[in-house]
């Protein structure tokens, strides 16, 4: 794979292999915490932190870790960074940490991170893995931002806590409840598929 440019490694996370809309990875956290934009941002940053550092470490250690125990080693690496992120959030932003609940520790089993470690970081150089992780993070954050913005605006009439729709607006409570999450994400994925189809047709 030497003829791929760094830019391609970076770009593919944004659209072509977007972890949420294309690969359907990390669904649990995506759906659970996007009821308000601030939670989406916090989750996006926490996952990015873990993904970037575990990609870095896995890629550094890729020649040392024996093949048979690689999955277990990756999990330990990931769990360490997740613990750091969890403790940091709990100490600095107790309110956010409380509203995210068990979903921060659950980053451990977020398939985006293990998937990247196994599919990319374990086979590529440190630089490439870092770029790949950055692209994936941006794609993930982007998806979270869109999803949580839609749900917060329609579900509580606010955006980042500020009221954007007038008092005439009756909030759709359903949007901040679980069913709203499933339906919004379903429609978003359909929308992304439709754009992809249009692009293909034009070629």
């Amino acid at each position: 794979m030497p003829n791929r440019s760094f830019l391609q490694d970076f770009n593919k996370g944004l659209w072509q292999e977007n972890p949420v809309s294309r690969q359907l990875l990390g669904m649990c956290s995506t759906l659970a915490i996007t009821n308000a934009l601030i939670n989406g941002v916090a989750m996006g940053l926490a996952v990015s932190f873990v993904l970037i550092f575990s990609s870095l470490l896995v890629s550094l250690l890729r020649k040392i870790i024996p093949n048979q125990v690689r999955i277990a080693s990756y999990i330990v690496v990931i769990a360490t960074f997740v613990t750091m992120a969890d403790r940091f959030l709990a100490a600095s932003f107790p309110a956010i940490s409380k509203s995210l609940g068990p979903y921060v520790p659950l980053i451990v089993v977020n398939c985006i991170i293990l998937g990247r470690a196994e599919a990319f970081a374990s086979k590529n150089t440190v630089g490439r893995s870092l770029v790949d992780a950055l692209g994936m993070c941006l794609g993930y954050i982007l998806a979270l931002l869109i999803l949580s913005s839609i749900r917060e605006i329609l579900g509580s009439g606010t955006w980042l806590g500020y009221r954007v729709l007038g008092t005439w607006f009756e909030p759709w409570i359903i949007m901040i409840l679980p069913p709203g999450a499933f339906i919004t994400l379903g429609l978003l994925i359909a929308f992304a598929n439709q754009i992809e189809r249009k692009i293909k047709l034009r070629r």
Partner: protein, 187 residues
């Protein structure tokens, strides 16, 4: 009470969004989703039994609860491995039925979620075990329901961009809405 609420109201899939990956991935046919559900219920019950003593007798007394995440994930991974070897030796037909689903369970977030939620809510031992069994049954119910709908959906005329994940998520949303009807049942 806890039993029914974990199956119907606080269903792991529809309420906590746990185990969505296998839920979407393996819900294409009823029989395979039933095997997945059985495997998950089995491992969940075991996880509940094993993680509670570890958390309350080792981690908390020695003030090691910051190691919770690492400890739980290692316990679950080795538990799945053990269960796999055990079933392979003792009951080949069951091993055939569960097949590739067992190793997949390690990264299934509902197992990890169960251990964390039980620790978070400070359940005692009996409650944790009941919670584990009923959450597993709830997952099975959810995934079998979904598979039944998706088998019918294959015959329906779904708009092109919605095919696959899109329609599955919307259907899940509607089922989740229906499950809200149960929340008035237990006060």
């Amino acid at each position: 009470m806890l039993f029914f609420s974990a199956i119907l109201i606080n269903n792991f899939v529809y309420h906590y969004f746990l185990g969505i990956c296998p839920f979407l991935g393996i819900s294409k046919r009823i029989d395979s989703s039933l095997s997945m559900g059985t495997a998950v219920t089995f491992v969940m019950s075991l996880t509940a039994v094993v993680t509670w003593p570890i958390n309350h007798w080792i981690l908390i007394p020695y003030k090691l609860d910051y190691l919770q995440i690492v400890a739980f994930i290692l316990v679950i991974a080795s538990l799945v491995q053990l269960v796999e070897m055990f079933i392979k030796k003792t009951s080949p037909p069951l091993y055939q039925a569960l097949g590739i689903y067992l190793p997949l369970i390690t990264v299934n977030c509902c197992i990890m979620g169960l251990a964390l939620l039980a620790a978070l809510k400070n359940y005692n031992f009996a409650e944790t075990v009941v919670f584990g069994v009923s959450a597993g049954l709830g997952f099975t119910l959810a995934i079998v329901l979904m598979a039944a709908i998706r088998e019918q959906l294959d015959l329906a005329d779904v708009p092109e961009p919605l095919k696959g994940a899109g329609i599955s998520l919307i259907v899940t949303g509607i089922i989740a809405l229906a499950f809200f009807g149960f929340s008035g049942m237990i006060k």
